[in-house]
Amino acid sequence: MRRILAKRIFVPFIIFLMLAVAACGSSTGGGGNSGGGGNAQQGLTGGNSYNACPSSTNTTAASPESGSVTLTVSGFSSSPAEDALVQQNLNKFTQAHPNIKINWSPIPGDYPTKMRANVASGTVPDVFYLTPDMSSEYIQAGKVLNLSPYMQRDNVSPNDYYASLLSPFTCKSGQAFGIPKDWNTLGVFYNKTLFQAAGLSAPSPNWTWSDMQNDAQKVTKNPGTTNSVYGITLDSSTSRWAAFLFADGGTVLNKDGTQAAFDNQAGIDSLKFYASFQKNNTGTRPQNVGSTWAGDAFGKERAAMALEGGWLIPYMTQTYPNVQYGIAPVPVAPNGKRADLIYTNAWAAYGNTKHPDAAWQLIKYMTGSDVQTSQLHAGFALPTLKSLANDSYFTQNPGVKVMFDAATYGYADYYGSQDQAIHTDLDNAIEKVLLNQADVPTALQEATSKVNNQLQQQ
């Protein structure tokens, strides 16, 4: 997961460790593309047409085992603090279930690759983190347990969770194979001091694309010099641009996930908007001001705005504690629509686990309100349960609330089995435009042919 994030964004990994503090620091995020599928035999959710269902899977829930059971549990850890919280919650679970012992062994480094090796050797943990870019492959091959029968048995309704968060872990006919453990999304971080100095008021909740361009224009100072301050800093990243693409009514893939669908007016307009800041000298790539990623350029006050996620909050606290900033929602597109990108990971159980019921009990606990509340209060990530929308934490942290609201209008930053390749191809298209090596229609055309090649190859 870490590697993917680092691949997507220009973040050398030292900086990346900071970035990943946000717990669910996954740039290959969650659901939202719930189309098609529909008439499921036993589907609980709307289904996700990007994920094929396994040819055979469990259709009933296993009954609880008597006697003591040991579960191996794996995931990735973004920071020691986050790891401690996970351990604490796992301990609470074992206290409540004395017959279940937990063997927590987080995987350092490249999580998906290590898990792939585990699958090849047949030594998969009983319960583990499922990232969206793993989900398509794992679900189709029957490597993860079908949780739907368990959810039905224990009255865990999929409607307790935001649909866009659950959908990356469901297949076409709607069975759920993972339950989102936490999530993150984007907000516009703005520098209050720089905004005031330029005579600007804080962005209104309904601000638009052109408001954003105007603000960027007014706050920009000395562009092109060594003490330049730009309006906004943007990475060449699909995991940023797609927020504008979705808002403009566009989409990355067609409904059944078989073809690229971004080479149209929505794609062109949104990418032109994304590149307009650089073109008008009111925005910059973070590299141009000597930063490795947008959050750093924002912290150094070389840019007054940055489109980043919750991970920027602890980074600012630790590295740039004196910068006064606020968080505004992603601006509204000319058509009046707003969109955001959602990044999430899930808890899932191994398809061939010897202790399916115990595994389910753990998943149910770790995605339940106790653990979700503890994660929110620790400031690591947003909770996946709708029931926590009015938690007291949000009144104390209105900026976090702004981002949390994106659950209702956000789209998963996840595009099926070729997710990684699609991200890379689009990142390159954006990079070409920002570096002036191609105009917008050409870049999108090239990316379309590359993405379609990938989709045909699979």
């Binding site: 691949k7 050398p12 699958v119 090849a120 492959e137 091959a141 090596q437 090239e446 090649n453």
Partner: protein, 334 residues
């Protein structure tokens, strides 16, 4: 193919290897002449190495070739025999050359190899000759010191070197600071598609030149003094004697250095892996075949396709090396 140099006095570097090989040849082929026990002993001594070679090189290579004929995603589905389909996929991409990551990586690596092999061979030769014949000639302590300093980069782990150069290449790093002293605005090295590959070339030349310098030094020591003296007597100046006597006698070493440099260059992976984000970026400008093979295998989970790419890479390296042998060292290619 005969591996023994034509002129016995000019051993191909390192001389010990050539010598060892000669003895070995006698031991193995000398069944009729020597005692049978000698042959057995030779094989016995070779056994540990042959086992390692067989298991980790020969078996793995053949397994890889076999793998290239399958659709494999280790662990997720049953491997499926698909004949030459993987190769067809790769060669079909030739029609859409610019959009093919594999062929882009091939172009990148050819540029890379041409530059680094040329520069590092010349640099290694110059360093070796300087250490051998300059004012350091009669000061062995000083010479040893310089030799050690030159050689240290080759001993350092490439991960450590990559991390250090990552800081050097930072837009606010050492290189750009030095450039700013002479009022040249430094590029954004690793973030600029035009400078990323040259940046990695520089790093590579810096680390490997000295290793090859040692090869040349060994070969230089084997050049008979009489030949150089004879050239001097005939009125050749230093450059003439270097160009017309030393260089021709170094041919086997030059071939060795060029061939090893080429093979190593084509397989370049670690520097790109540690220094570029996204891998092979920006805009695929530093994507090498090895990185692409890694991506295809471990990110896309197409192990068969990746194996096919490895086979193609092997064939390319093989052909290039043969061609080099013909051109540089014609005497050995009979």
């Amino acid at each position: 193919m005969a591996t023994q140099p034509v002129t016995p006095s000019v051993a191909s570097a390192p001389p010990i290897t050539a010598e060892g090989r000669r003895r070995l040849g006698r031991g193995l082929g000398g069944g009729s002449k020597g005692r049978p026990g000698e042959t057995l002993a030779a094989y016995l001594f070779l056994l540990p190495y042959l086992t390692v070679l067989g298991v980790f090189i020969v078996f793995v290579s053949l397994y890889g070739i076999g793998l290239s004929l399958f659709k494999v995603d280790i662990g997720f589905s049953v491997p499926q025999f698909i004949g030459t389909h993987n190769y067809e996929v790769i060669f079909n991409q030739l029609s859409d050359f610019a959009n093919s990551d594999f062929w882009t990586s091939m172009i990148n690596i050819i540029k890379f190899v041409v530059v680094i092999v040329t520069v590092q061979t010349i640099l290694a030769l110059v360093l070796a000759v300087l250490l051998q014949n300059s004012i350091l000639k009669n000061r062995s302590t000083l010479r040893g010191m310089f030799r050690t300093i030159f050689y240290i980069p080759s001993l350092t782990s490439s991960v450590a070197v990559s991390l250090i150069f990552l800081w050097f290449y930072n837009p606010n790093g050492l290189f750009n600071y030095l450039l700013s002293l002479v009022h040249i605005p430094g590029p954004q090295w690793l973030q600029d598609p035009n400078f990323a590959l040259p940046a990695i070339m520089i790093l590579n030349i810096w680390t490997t030149s000295a290793a090859f310098m040692i090869y040349f030094m060994a070969a230089l020591q084997d050049i008979p003094k009489e030949l150089v003296e004879a050239a001097e007597v005939d009125g050749a100046n230093r450059f003439q004697s270097f160009w017309n006597v030393t260089v021709p006698l170094l041919r086997p070493s030059i071939f060795l250095v060029v061939a090893l440099g080429t093979i190593g260059g084509f397989q370049m992976f670690d520097q790109v892996f540690f220094m570029t984000q996204p891998l092979g970026g920006p805009l695929n400008s530093t994507l090498t075949p090895m990185v692409e093979i890694y991506n295809v295998a471990f990110s896309d989970n197409h192990f068969g396709l990746a194996a096919a790419m490895s086979v193609i890479l092997f064939v390319v390296i093989f052909i290039v090396t043969i061609i080099q042998r013909r051109f540089i060292d014609p005497s050995t290619s009979q």
